[in-house]
């Protein structure tokens, strides 16, 4: 197993979040291509002239070196990998949302190279700041897929009959789409929404609206009852 016990150099990473640690250090939550999500201490990174200060920002492609056996590694250094995803405004908040999803749903020390690539692609798209909702929907679907919660979209839950575009369904978490009337609960949507989602086609306004409700329900289901901070922030800001 390629465990991260020895020293690792020049690893492709993104910073997901940082928080202060002791007087002058930072704990950095990293998403690495090869090792998945890891946490590391950046010693002295909060000193005024620390080399790492200012570098440990989310959404930037970095190369990191670390060592250590414990769950909290020791970060030796980070460098820019080149290229830059400048997220502005609403896209920036969407970026925070992606990071929160990964922090909350992805266990530590679990390699997810495919997800890393989806994440990177999503950041590039967010930096272009077009069709933000579609970027989020695609990422959410892939995140669940990579975590082993792939969504049945093209076939009915129990009978495995193909989903029909014109039919109405109730989508039940952990089961899938059930024809309307056969389930007690679930997210109400039409067959076309499911088929569009399977093809990553969100050009239809109703598909976009229904897929949002579906993903919100599914993500809440897997998160348990602690709500997402970023979603609360968006609600608060709309109320101002």
């Amino acid at each position: 197993m390629s465990s991260g016990f020895a020293r690792q150099d020049n690893q492709q990473v993104y910073v997901l979040h940082t928080y202060p640690f002791k007087e002058t250090s930072l704990v950095v939550e990293l998403f690495s291509r090869q090792f998945g999500r890891i946490a590391a201490v950046a010693k002295g990174a909060r000193r005024p002239r620390a080399a790492m200060r200012g570098m440990l920002q989310a959404f930037q492609p970095l190369a990191a070196s670390w060592s250590g056996k414990s769950e909290l590694r020791l970060l030796h250094g980070v460098e820019w990998r080149g290229g830059m995803h400048l997220l502005h405004g609403q896209a920036l908040i969407c970026g925070f949302y992606l990071n929160e999803l990964i922090l909350r749903l992805l266990p530590r020390e679990d390699p997810h190279e495919v997800l890393f690539e989806h994440y990177e692609a999503a950041l590039v798209q967010l930096a272009n700041a077009r069709q933000l909702e579609q970027i989020l929907r695609r990422f959410e679907k892939r995140l669940l897929q990579e975590l082993g919660y792939a969504l049945p979209l093209e076939h009915e839950a129990d009978s495995a009959l193909p989903v029909e575009a014109n039919r109405e369904y109730d989508y039940v978490p952990e089961r899938g789409p059930v024809p309307r009337g056969e389930a007690q609960s679930g997210v109400q949507l039409r067959g076309k929404t499911l088929l569009d989602m399977a093809r990553d086609d969100y050009s239809d306004a109703l598909t976009l609206q229904q897929s949002k409700l579906l993903m919100r329900a599914l993500i809440s289901h897997y998160l348990g009852n602690r709500p997402l901070h970023t979603r609360q922030l968006l609600i608060d800001l709309q109320q101002l």
């Binding site: 830059m84 990071n99 800001l237 101002l240």
Partner: protein, 199 residues
Amino acid sequence: MQGPATLEQLIEALRCLPGVGPKSAQRMAYHLLQRDRAGARHLALSLDRALEHIRHCLKCNNFSESEICHLCASGKRNPQQLCVVEMPTDLMLLEQTQAYSGMYFVLMGRLSPLDGIGPRDIHLDRLLARAQDGEVQEVILATNYTVEGEATAHYVGELLKARNIKVSRIARGLPMGGEIEHVDIGTLAQALIERRTLN
């Protein structure tokens, strides 16, 4: 070993300081009680006095002894400009530049979505009221160029623009005397992306 209850209480109280764990708190308590009792008395009185007299200025939200702070009340500042900063230390540095003569608003923090710090925690409602006093013509956003500072600037900006207030953001790029050879790649990339036309 269990010490006297009041000593334990003091140690526990000192732990409210950032970065102070049980060991440091113990060392501080012993030092104050044994080596510097006068200093300890002075510290206690200063804390007490500060708690009693220091509040937030009604206009700029900075710490102040009076309802309106010295800077806001001076009458020598340009009331048409309002500069928004995260912390009082930022305000002090901006004052040192002597390049700005307008008013300020101190958020006392920043939006931090992943830590659950939202608009309520940084007094955005008060800032909105302040910016709409009828005199302010331009709001200058001087929050940090961190992702949190950017998120804060974006939302403050959106809120104010929706109310037809002119909003600007402090510039970023190469530092004073910055040589391209020695500047960090991130700053350089930003400077390229956000280049300006010469006219």
